[in-house]
Symmetry: C2
Subunit: 332 residues, 2 copies
């Protein structure tokens, strides 16, 4: 295993030190592994928190900041954050108007966020609402999930609902918006290679040189099937078709993310975006906004995922609103 | 070789198609492989162009846009752009106030930009000035260079001089600014793994599982020496010490970039930034701004580089000015 790390047991702690040093607008509660804004939003506004296992950077800590999240709790690599972490994140973010928990649909995450919400409410009386993201069309259940997995759509949801929260919408309205986004977005991913979890020291799975994993999960869990390595245009088709088969995007505007899984360079992501955009356009989808880069990763895995979200003028307005985080930044 | 590509000979053409689709503010001259702004800057302002071999994305095409470059010409992977490409980029970018060529110090690039500048001047009478970037402290000469190589500082230079060009400074002033930045910045990189050039189909060099290449070039050319794989804190020290030994950064403000070489995930880059920042701070360097991410890459190589630029209030003001490109975006 070749990685830029110190002790494999210290990867998360050391990475949190780094992001805190890089971002003067963030603070880190190192004991509880909670990343939060050094200048909180105004009292009376709803706070957004998220979290999950580490190894998906910039998700979620890299999306804390003006225009997106108020706090994130970081579990160990590929391990759900504990209820205690979620309680601390909820408390530090709360500005008296309730807290929205944004949870990717993995069994441990859902359970711990549920417990964290209950404990936080008991301790402080804070009102917590939850949205569970389950956008991955690849598999119905997986090693880590009952139901569909929550993947790339989480990034788009955190951006858009984050913008709405800055505007001062109430908890019920933000929860509705988040649920609408989850209903209208779909994702699918694929891996060229496995990732290597630092504590394990070896690849999570074996993938022959001539095969790829179609529908892979962000922890390296199996997807739909292994298929032969193919040209990018063919891989793009295998990603886009299941998304279009699952949801009728129609001809309205859409936001599209071509996401790298951590080990794939930008030249390949640009190339894949060209293939994916052409397929979506020929299916009638009108791409109004796009993201190309590493936004929800799986450590050093080579591969990519596609996310498509049906949008409207209001969603695009919120998308364009200023954001200033490590992972997404514009207009601020 | 596992990559998200079609025919290995089409990688550049296909990636250019993708970036053009992703960025409505860019146009691509596919015949000449020149990326330029769809809305050029005002007549009477100096244009900035750069270029070089592909495989270093987002450099340079990803830095074309408001606040940075006006055009970039993309050579084949790890191959200098031809004089003809440079002429076309110069012509498309020229707004009547001269064109600054930003050239990384590689023998082929320097020669072809020199020829391109002469040809463009002959053809159209455009005034061209050139700055050659040579910030890499690792080696004095290399397989690809006479003198020091031009690496990460190019990104910082393109941002700062780009901001000054938007303000309307003349060609002489911008050339002076660019030369000052080149004089005051230093870089050093290292590789955990080789990269694989698509047309070659196999790793450029062999690096045993327990060794790293210290001072590696962005084409995989050899660095200072091979050393044993070490903890991140030790690798950081081996990168920072030669930089500090080469230039007296003093206690004034500095801009620091912790750059990923393409295959290294953000969790490791955040971690490395923590180590590098701590070392620089303990040496008295005051980090005023930073970048952490993939900005000048070497295809899928795993590894990172450090760039440090001495700054002052004026440089920081230009750094903070709005920029809107695929690779760097804020305030716009």
């Amino acid at each position: 295993m070749k990685k830029l790390i110190n002790d494999p047991g210290d990867v998360l702690a050391d990475a949190l030190t780094g992001i805190e040093k890089a971002r003067p607008d963030l603070r880190v509660d190192h004991e509880n592994r909670v990343i939060y804004r050094s200048t909180p939003k105004d009292q009376g506004k709803v706070a957004l928190i998220s979290g999950g296992g580490s190894g998906h950077e910039p998700l979620h800590g890299g999306f804390v900041g003006r225009g997106m999240l108020d706090a994130a709790c970081a579990g160990e690599v590929f391990t759900s954050p504990t209820p205690d972490q979620i309680v601390e994140a909820t408390k530090v973010a709360d500005r008296g108007a309730g807290v929205l928990h944004i949870v990717k649909n993995y069994t441990g995450d859902v359970m711990n966020f549920e417990m964290g919400a209950e404990l936080a409410a008991l301790e402080t009386g804070v009102e917590v609402a939850t949205v569970v993201v389950d956008d991955d069309v690849a598999v119905e259940n997986s090693t880590w999930t009952a139901g569909r997995r929550g993947v790339g759509l989480t990034v788009l949801l955190e951006k858009i609902v984050g913008a709405a929260a800055e505007e001062g919408r109430d908890l019920a309205a933000l929860t509705d918006l988040a649920k609408k986004i989850n209903a209208d977005g779909r994702s699918m991913g694929m891996a060229l290679t496995s990732c290597t979890v630092p504590a394990a020291g070896k690849p999570t799975f074996d993938l022959p040189e001539d095969q790829i994993e179609m529908g892979v999960g962000i922890h390296g869990e199996p997807g739909r099937k292994r298929v032969p390595l193919a040209p990018a245009s063919d891989i793009a088709r295998q990603l886009v078709e299941p998304i279009l088969a699952d949801y009728a995007f129609g001809s309205g505007p859409a936001i599209v993310m071509l996401n790298g899984l951590g080990g794939t360079p930008l030249i390949e992501l640009y190339l894949m975006y060209g293939e994916v955009a052409a397929l979506l356009e020929s299916a009638g989808v009108s791409i109004a906004r796009n993201l190309v880069g590493d936004y929800i990763t799986s450590l050093d895995m080579q591969g990519c995922s596609v996310t498509v979200l049906k949008a409207d003028d209001e969603l695009l307005r919120l998308w364009d609103a200023p954001v200033n985080t490590a992972g997404l930044r514009w207009g601020a």
